[in-house]
Symmetry: C2
Subunit: 591 residues, 2 copies
Amino acid sequence: MDGQATASHWLSELAACLAGEDPSRAAELFGDDCYWRDFVALTWNIATCEGRPAIAAMLAECGGRTAATALTLDGEVRTTGSGIEFWFTFETAAGHGRGHARLRNGRGWTVLTTLRELKGFEEKRGETRPLGTVHGAIRNRRTWADQRAEDARLGLDRQPYVLIVGGGQGGLGLAARLKQIGVPALVVDRHPRAGDAWRNRYRSLCLHDPVWFDHMPYLPFPDHWPVFTPKDKMGDWLEAYAAIMELDLWTGTACRSAAYDEATAEWTVTVERDGAVTTLRPKHLVLATGMAGKPEMPRLPGQDMFRGVQHHSSAHPGGAGYAGRRCVIIGANNSAHDIAADLWEHGASVTMIQRSPTLVVRSETVQRLGWALYSEAAVKAGIDVDTADLIVASTPFAVLPELLKPVVERMKQEDAAFYDGLRAVGFQLTFGEDETGLGLMYPRRGSGYYIDVGASELIASRQIALRSGVGVASLTEDAVLLDDGTRLPADLVVYATGYGSMTGWAADLISQEVADRVGPCWGMGSGTARDPGPWVGELRNMWKPTAQPGLWFHGGNLAQSRHYSRYLAIQFKARYEGLATPVYGMPQAQA
Amino acid sequence: MDGQATASHWLSELAACLAGEDPSRAAELFGDDCYWRDFVALTWNIATCEGRPAIAAMLAECGGRTAATALTLDGEVRTTGSGIEFWFTFETAAGHGRGHARLRNGRGWTVLTTLRELKGFEEKRGETRPLGTVHGAIRNRRTWADQRAEDARLGLDRQPYVLIVGGGQGGLGLAARLKQIGVPALVVDRHPRAGDAWRNRYRSLCLHDPVWFDHMPYLPFPDHWPVFTPKDKMGDWLEAYAAIMELDLWTGTACRSAAYDEATAEWTVTVERDGAVTTLRPKHLVLATGMAGKPEMPRLPGQDMFRGVQHHSSAHPGGAGYAGRRCVIIGANNSAHDIAADLWEHGASVTMIQRSPTLVVRSETVQRLGWALYSEAAVKAGIDVDTADLIVASTPFAVLPELLKPVVERMKQEDAAFYDGLRAVGFQLTFGEDETGLGLMYPRRGSGYYIDVGASELIASRQIALRSGVGVASLTEDAVLLDDGTRLPADLVVYATGYGSMTGWAADLISQEVADRVGPCWGMGSGTARDPGPWVGELRNMWKPTAQPGLWFHGGNLAQSRHYSRYLAIQFKARYEGLATPVYGMPQAQA
């Protein structure tokens, strides 16, 4: 059989199995090594089933109740070194799905199923876009401005169904999706203006990911947009985005507390808006306050007597005013490097203290080797962002190591001189415990790396001083003391010591008990240092139901925010419309 | 010869002729009936040469000096009922061009040549987009925010090369193009916020043109954008557009006077910004204050004693508060209809006074028959907005009547019942003096029509009263007196009496003498009532040099603003870079 026939046959067998004709057949369709990743289509969850028994169990429980049917090959079957791969469409009782499969020796290796839109609630766009006016004569016509004025009463006269805390790219992109499918959602953000979370960062900050990776839902960046968006430009974009997408956003609004009432299945959320306290009662609460979580500040003896300036990296305003001053950066990841370089550019004398090895990748290299799907070449090849996102999603996390190791190996070879230069000054390098590089460092711990845009050269050339493999013992009035006895005179100490889990926001806002029950966000349980097991195969607690009813976490880089917000929005829409949403693999309470 | 060979042969003959081998050959390449329309490529003007002698003369003068060469067939040759048509590319000494030609019996019928980009000053987009940051370590790095802060000093520390008066879609779209090609341009607008020119209009206003026709440069409306943009949404879009495109815009700034100094080739423009008077000294002054020009208010006996409310349609705030009130609308074009319907929707008692026949077309019909190039179907067929604009441009104005008459005929047949209903209540209809409909009514006079979105049915059903074929004699304390002796009691009189030529802005701002010298804007000299001859074949004084050095007019609907701003911007860029821009067919002073 040729690829096309193999794929069609396999899909029809799978369809029969989903129709419940003989659930045990499901197992036969898959090889020994197999994965089924589902985005809300079958599981109403974001979950990967690994191995034949897990897949068979999932299909037995979910296949019938979601009524997955009409599996149809979509486009050409592609032959790869190890087998074939192809796209397909399908229907469930609730919606329209799109899937991808890879077969090896005629049996399933990886399957992705995604729920794209709900039936009867398809987004209005293109041919089905709204008219914008009603032609004809209508007494007491409601205009667009009338509608927007009524929207502005959301949270006052009417309660939002979803309350999103945090108006960064995550919160706003999700709100845009909810607006388009008609779910009342309110975004609250503590900053005075949309985009301020970006504007307030250190002045040299630009996105480390390239523009092709960063598009937000519905409104792509135009063709002339810079590759690496400067932070103030990003802020302005978010502000314009909120206006264009007609988002319901309360700026200058701090979220003070939230409590869930099991009886009414409703939150009571106290917010302070421009000084006035208001209570909101949403059904769902989304924390989109930054996947980085709360800043982690080390407690060191002598911090109270230090006479210079000391602050966490997240509070660092930039290097202006530090010319000739002695600056100590504690930490050696992205923020530490960016801040060190910025201080150097302003003429400061900078020392970086590296406590543990760092993954460093050159921006140019990672873009060339790692981001082929998100590039001008991909655009020219007709790979739109949505397709690229689905291609990425089609590879389960468990399969990533074998794909990433050769890329890391190539990177090490191509940039050998670069890495040698860093080693020569004592910089401690890592490429991940299993040499899988940035591709897994990021989902495992969201930190531990630096995408080099210039600081590494300053370190290699000793223009930024480096102290590596040492810890900080204490501070004095005017110095940092290292645990090897070194005394570093300092006017400024920046703690680039990272962030806690997003769950920390839940502890602050709701309760420690709820945070403990939900457990940490991010990481897949890879068994590496900052991502302890057990293995769960997907990012924990992100974009899907948690052990706390009505509590959701949203975040990540722009690409994740864009892609996952689609599936998060559809989960809310289904609940808002009262559809059955039985969650397969519901997370258990952790504590 | 097949079409491909015919086209190639014709292009090579034309190339030889452009190279000056034998200018007299040019005439042989064209049929008896022939047109060459040029957008800045050969003529540094927007001009149509009609007939063989005119074309030969233009080629003889412009071919050599622009060094047009490398004419290359681009894409497939299309066979039509009357011959073949095809696209081609070409080069001039200054830039890259794109052209279109239609041949009949192997000889040229219509040719379009457009200058797309200047060599060495191509727009940075896609692969050539800016990096957004400079990787590496740079002392005293300039950030994006630093650059924007410096931009904000334009007009204070540095003078703009181009000053654009008016921050509507025209002014902002042009400013965006100039920003992208690096010409310092400042937009001044009298309203407090960008977009207010739209927000301040009557509340029911929506664009009458559909979304596919309305895209602005660089940032297309997203897929979910409504077909007919409500005016407040349009206002918000313009405000977001100005931010996203990084335009240098002074809001709350009224332009008080402008004078040109021939010696320095510079304007002295006095503006009042938030109450403070500032002098600007641009090289070029663009009036983008609305192609509609200044409101025309009739002077009627008794206006001073009328106790009700009276205002021009442009000042009408909407029907709120007029329930049960008697409202008289003087005029029967677009604004008159929209305002009459809005008042009726608010429960007012409305009478429309039609002084002369009106062209009425149903919105649905005109969209179906008239806007095929700008539709969801066109998008699906891969016709992007730029291509659609070029296709429209490829047909010279002189050829339009023969194309439009059959469309009007079909429209009259399809909507016969609709028109009969209007005639039955005495509404006077016209389809243009030569039955060419909206397609020529708009470029000839920019008014005289109504695109029906509901008011016609109210008139046909007598829910809006109509008095037709009568003039207004005078006003009394509480009524409008018609010249047939009728007395119409009135609480509100709206003068929907149209607008003067854009040149009126020049008279106010500069001097009557300059306005007279330039002559009227708009109209092609069709010899019809509101567009007297002589025939000039292009819209007068729009987007191209005028008889007043340094004075330019920009405007029109969103589609015109988008398309022509491209060629207006390139004219400024060429001058800014000191290129030779010899204008062929320079307009003569009118007075």
